[in-house]
């Protein structure tokens, strides 16, 4: 399986930006990082697991949909899988456009849609050694 959107290695934000056309005028960059808590419980690490081949397809579909909805914006996305420490980047999205409003809108749409359609899951590890899969059906993040 060739990987375009998923990576087991640390996300190289500089190379993601280099894949776009920053000369267009506006570059909006979103980087999601592992937070130190969730729902009031301390988190020490997160393991991201993906249905890899389907996640690649869903992210390609997402990229196509973004191109349709934001024709002036070029979007590049990368999601990391495997075990990450607090502060590590789990996802990065670069949106480039002639003007900032479309770049912000496309970047926001990309992360919001990614969270609802791409088959990726995360298991949180806690200081006491326990761990659990994040159940977004019970704790939706509601676009925060």
């Amino acid at each position: 399986m060739s990987l375009t959107y998923l990576t087991a290695d640390p996300i190289d934000v500089a190379s993601l930006i280099a894949e776009t056309r920053p000369s267009d005028g506006a570059l909006c960059l979103f980087v999601g990082v592992v937070r130190n808590e969730n729902a009031g419980r301390e988190t020490t690490a997160i393991e991201y697991q993906a249905y890899g081949s389907m996640a690649e397809l869903e992210m390609a579909k997402l990229a196509e949909a973004l191109t349709r909805d934001f024709p002036q914006v070029q979007v590049r996305m990368r999601h990391r899988i495997g075990r990450l420490a607090v502060g590590d980047a789990s996802v990065a999205i670069a949106a480039v456009s002639p003007h900032r409003s479309e770049a912000f809108a496309a970047c926001r749409a990309a992360i919001d849609r990614l969270k609802t359609t791409v088959p990726i899951w995360k298991k949180e590890f806690h200081p006491d050694g326990s761990s659990d899969w994040v159940d977004t059906s019970r704790r939706p993040d509601q676009g925060r």
Binding site: A55, H79, V91, L114, W121, W133, T136
Partner: protein
């Protein structure tokens, strides 16, 4: 008819394996495969409705008819980002 069933995240933990081959009668639908699993796996029996399903890496409706060799997965609530 034989399908390849994949399990992920909390569903993988509940079933205890990453994937398996399953035989079903010709013409079986995705929802019938889920019903069969729900009879075996206590976690699945607690679901009021079938979770999102994928056949050959595409989201499909519950009534989708399965074919020999299909790759099927039932997906826990996704949590990327």
């Amino acid at each position: 008819m034989r399908v390849r069933l994949l399990h992920f995240a909390s569903f993988r933990d509940a079933v205890g394996r990453e994937e398996e081959l399953r035989d079903f009668p010709e013409g079986s639908r995705v929802e019938e495969l889920w019903a069969a699993l729900a009879r075996e796996v206590p976690l699945f029996a607690r679901f009021a409705a079938m979770p999102p399903a994928a056949v050959n890496r595409e989201y499909v409706p519950a009534g989708t008819v399965l074919r020999d060799g299909d790759e099927v997965a039932f997906l826990p609530p996704v949590a990327g980002g």
